[in-house]
């Protein structure tokens, strides 16, 4: 966790996915990210939240920022206490899926954001994504 916590949301139902991504979009807009970045972030949050719901059935989404005078820095930590990802390295490759998906979620999410950290073992999966932009 870095800087100020902006929002802490539960992810347990399909409605929570919608809420998490729209809150993330709002926060990004408030900090000053452009429309394209907002959309990317919302999509990334949507991907991660969907994974939480699909594999762990519930978790939480923490939105935090540690922007400076020169940089906008927004982070989102998605956490769950599910079974964990058996092979993280494989899951980060395109086309790998254990849940019947497209296998584009995690690698795609990584491409959408500037920084992507993942740790996963049975009982805890934590993904932190960050978006960093220089202030205009």
């Amino acid at each position: 966790m870095k800087g100020n916590v902006l929002q802490h949301l539960a992810v347990a139902t399909a409605t929570d996915i919608v809420r998490a991504r729209s809150v993330a979009r709002q926060e990004a807009a408030r900090i000053g990210f452009g429309l394209a970045d907002q959309t990317r972030l919302a999509t990334a949050v949507s991907e991660l939240a969907r994974n939480v719901l699909k594999y762990a059935s519930e978790g939480s989404c923490l939105i935090h920022e540690d922007s400076t005078a020169t940089e906008m820095r927004l982070h989102i930590t998605m956490e769950d206490h599910g079974p964990g990802i058996p092979d993280v390295a494989a899951a980060m490759k395109d086309g790998y899926s254990t849940g019947g998906g497209m296998g584009a979620g995690l690698p795609g999410t990584r491409r959408l954001v500037d920084k992507f950290e993942i740790e996963s073992f049975p009982g805890l999966t934590r993904v932190t994504i960050s978006m960093v932009r220089k202030r205009q």
Partner: protein, 323 residues
């Protein structure tokens, strides 16, 4: 002043004279009530003071709610409600021993409160006013009891306790009833919203339009896919335009649903033209690594319609003389 009220005053007067209520009960009814529990006494008192309680309650309700809901609440109806409630109360208290029985939704009283709340909800009476309805009844009964037992604080407290216990349960139940009704309404609305939100429009002969609006989850995806396939079969759709202008977020989940729909449409021999992907959406999709390689895509619905018409050998042109 009706004859029953006279009887009341007389009774009140009579029991004020005696040291306690029990003696009055014993002499008046000829039954030994000294061994009766508080709830049984309460039951008897409610029966005996029914009219006075109803009158007071009607007055309070009309004073506080009458002007808010003109023409909605009638005296007759209030009277009927109060009468039913009081009978149910005294029946309830007569079955209770020392301890109060929990009022369930299925019991007579529970059903009564449920019906009241549902009925009020349908007629636009706010939940807080329904609660007031019940609270006023509690007030009316406790007033009456206080009048009957002016010298016996202790007994009054003993009698009020089960009464308040019951009334609190009923108030909680009425709120439960409200939220249940609300939840039902919400469920129905989302159902009807779902019905509304995935129409398949026949744009021209063999040209179908499927405007997607809102969140695409598994249920909605299945629904619009079914409708689209059915429409393609029925109208021999040669081209199907899927417009995604109204889809807020395009992630892999949504993309997968749409791709499956596209594949199914192509199996039925319909070409698919996708329209309305925003510039940000396009960028996001490529970053995610999703390519709609087998789909013709146009930036706007207008361009999509032109393309679709071209595919069926038509075009839109000016009528003679117009410009």
């Amino acid at each position: 002043m009706g004859p029953s009220v006279c009887v009341y005053l007389w009774r009140v007067f009579y029991c004020c004279r005696g040291e306690d209520y029990y003696r009055w009960g014993t002499t008046k009814k000829g039954i030994d009530v000294s061994t009766k529990s508080n709830t049984a006494v309460l039951s008897t008192l409610l029966e005996q003071n029914r009219t006075a309680i109803i009158e007071e309650w009607k007055r309070t309700v009309m004073d506080s709610l009458g002007h808010k809901y003109p023409g909605v609440l009638s005296m007759d109806e209030l009277h009927r409600h109060a009468d039913m409630k009081l009978s149910a109360f005294s029946a309830y208290f007569s079955t209770c021993g020392e301890a109060l029985v929990t009022v369930t939704k299925e019991s007579t009283l529970g059903r009564m409160v449920y019906e009241l709340s549902t009925d009020h909800d349908m007629r636009g009476i706010k939940p807080v006013d329904t609660a007031l309805y019940l609270v006023a009844l509690k007030k009316a009964i406790s007033h009456r009891l206080a009048l009957l037992l002016p010298n016996s604080q202790e007994q009054l407290v003993d009698l009020l306790e089960p009464l308040f216990g019951l009334m609190d349960q009923l108030t909680l139940l009425s709120f439960d009833a409200y939220s249940t009704t609300r939840e039902k309404v919400i469920a129905q609305q989302s159902q009807s919203l779902m019905e509304l939100s995935t129409p398949v429009i026949v744009l021209w002969n063999n040209v179908l339009l499927l405007p997607l609006v809102g969140v695409i989850d598994t249920i909605r995806a299945r629904q619009f896919t079914e409708r689209m396939l059915e429409a393609i079969t029925r109208h021999e759709g040669i081209v199907t335009i899927i417009d995604v202008t109204g889809v807020p977020v395009f992630d892999t989940g949504v993309a997968r649903h749409i791709m499956k729909a596209v594949d199914a449409a192509q199996l039925l021999g319909s070409k698919v033209v996708m329209t309305g992907i925003s510039p940000e959406g396009a960028q996001t999709l490529t970053k995610l690594g999703i390519s709609f390689a087998n789909v013709t895509s146009r930036v706007s619905l207008r361009a999509g319609v032109a393309e679709a018409l071209k595919l069926v050998g038509r075009r839109i042109e000016l009528i003679n003389g117009a410009n």
